[in-house]
Symmetry: C2
Subunit: 347 residues, 2 copies
């Protein structure tokens, strides 16, 4: 199958670029001597997670229980859900998953840990627990080393749970006192902290310096604008995601309209909304729900209705979440068709 | 089934509020004596389109061919796709759809009309054609009444096509000269303009004043922030969409964290990202990909981990597009479960 056989908008992944990104991160983590537990929320595709494992990743990370179930169904094991799992419907599913897979989950409150414990006991499962530390993000996480130690003690006392360690996100130098004091407080209570989990693509060396045993780097697979910061840094050599689009109108002078807008390319970003590989001087300046408005006034080439253009989105993870299928391509050959198995698994 | 049986995040539709919105718009269009051809891109759910037809709508509008196929598969007929359909893969699908359904489509170029004609001839189909006018939106549409007449003449000459009229979006008073001159130019060429299609919830009277024969109003079903403009205008009495969420963390003082972020509630909008019905003083001030950050510092009630809260999103259409399922509820009773059949049908 060839890319010319695909209708648009179609979500493509350049397999050569993906392979290079996977190797680069795996090598970086090996040279830093830190385990890589990639965050699969960026792609939600079990086959890519298997590629990450083949490159030496030690287990995977998910953000939602439904994503973890999709990854488990796709044959993955040793899954860390870096998210508070709350409510009996979810804790039962979590415990069931833990009956056949090695499952680890983050908590930041005793009530959450108690809910997981109750389900684990009910089903005869064992769930590994990580305490999330708020080292400055102010999203989730216990607020002090003393709170972390108190919660860890509660976890150790609860049946069906195995306390494993702590996590931070994103890894920042300023987190060091919080982490060090937490490890000391745990040690003083006779609790071993086997895992210190850091996160965020680009922060691997910081994680290592903080004493982390693993990094949950995720967006490196796509290396979109969330990492590189500016659209000018988007490049076909680093960013494997392309949304293949068709020009559907050139009626307005100086403008071409693509058949992809906020519902196919994501509403999340500012102008220009991605890089057009074939015509980098053409700038996506506006986004309707289903139209992409491209300013072609500075574009040396003519653009016609029916032309197909490849857009590198600024945020690969958000774009992937809008599609059911991703096509793995090398040159113009479609080598593989992936189901975005974790898409929409927000529960 | 009760709403308490649903896990979160779950996308709900308050059926009483939906019914009221459907009646209100149907009555408004009847009193204006303008046909209502609702734009179903807002909901993408065939069952809701059937409710709109039952309220007196004359056919429906879709934005993408894939949405139209989903609506046709759900039993709808008389479908206007207000979008340039480009490329042989799509024109073949369009012509096949037109073999068993009444299908109308917008074009703004001869090359697009010629492609549709070729496919229609090949399959022995007849496709109704509307010429899109750019009356000020500068997205798609011919640029002048003379261009409209020239394109209409080309369409009349092409086999397999039936020229029906023109469309504008959104309907604005300033569009009157463009529309009037186009109708005159068509008439001078002996071409009848049976349809003048206007669009945009809230512009029905303007459409009527412009001489439109129909309005493609769509967002009225949800009446979210895109229409009412400000979050303070979101109200449970007018806005039927609710994303049922669970509080998963209250570790950070003054903050609660919901289990829904940009991938469940949409990245498109500014703070506050919706209205929390049960606690309107709690403001969703931040959005991670999978977390909603709620400022509860001004909230009189205590909020605990495990609490369930109903969020009215600012943009019902974008939120619906992120979910596979919508639950139709009346009070706490789940009366119906809808598949969001048009979700992801961006081709």
């Amino acid at each position: 199958m060839r890319t010319t056989d695909l209708d648009t908008p179609a979500l493509l992944c350049d397999l050569d670029v993906l392979d290079a990104n996977l190797s680069l991160m795996a090598d970086r983590c090996r040279s830093l001597d830190i385990a890589l537990r990639p965050h699969t929320k960026s792609h939600k595709i079990p086959e890519i997670a298997h590629l990450q494992i083949a490159h030496g990743a030690k287990g995977i990370t998910c953000q939602k229980l439904g994503e973890a179930e999709a990854m488990a169904a796709g044959g993955l094991d040793d899954i860390f859900i870096a998210y508070n799992i709350v409510g009996s419907a979810k804790t039962e599913r979590l415990a069931r998953l833990a009956k056949s897979r090695k499952i680890r989950v983050a908590v930041d409150s005793a009530v959450t840990a108690e809910g997981i414990s109750a389900a684990a006991v009910e089903l005869g499962a064992s769930v590994e627990i990580i305490v999330e530390l708020d080292t400055g993000s102010h999203r989730c996480g216990v607020q002090s080393p003393a709170d972390a130690a108190e919660l860890a003690k509660r976890i150790v006392a609860l049946p069906g749970l195995q306390f494993m360690g702590v996590m931070t996100y994103p890894s920042r130098e300023t987190a060091r006192p919080f982490i060090d004091e937490t490890v000391d407080a745990l040690s003083a209570s006779g609790i071993e902290c086997k895992v210190i989990s850091g996160g965020g693509t680009g922060s691997e060396a910081t994680s290592k310096a903080l004493g982390c045993t693993e990094t949950r780097s995720g967006s490196y697979v796509w290396e979109g604008g969330t990492r590189v910061g500016q659209t000018s840094d988007l490049s076909p050599e680093r960013c494997p995601v392309r949304l293949l689009c068709t020009v559907v109108s050139t009626s307005v002078p100086g403008q071409a309209v693509l058949d992809a807008g906020k519902k196919a390319l994501t509403a999340m970003s500012d102008s220009p909304f991605g890089l057009i590989i074939e015509q980098p001087a053409a700038k996506i300046r506006g986004m309707s729900v289903e139209h992409g408005h491209v300013d072609i006034s500075e574009c040396p080439a003519e653009i016609h209705v029916g032309d197909r253009l490849s857009v590198i989105p600024k945020h690969g993870g958000m774009t992937t979440n809008l599609h059911d299928t991703m096509y793995g391509v090398r040159g113009e050959t479609v080598e593989t068709i992936w189901k975005v198995a974790g898409r929409g698994k927000s529960q």
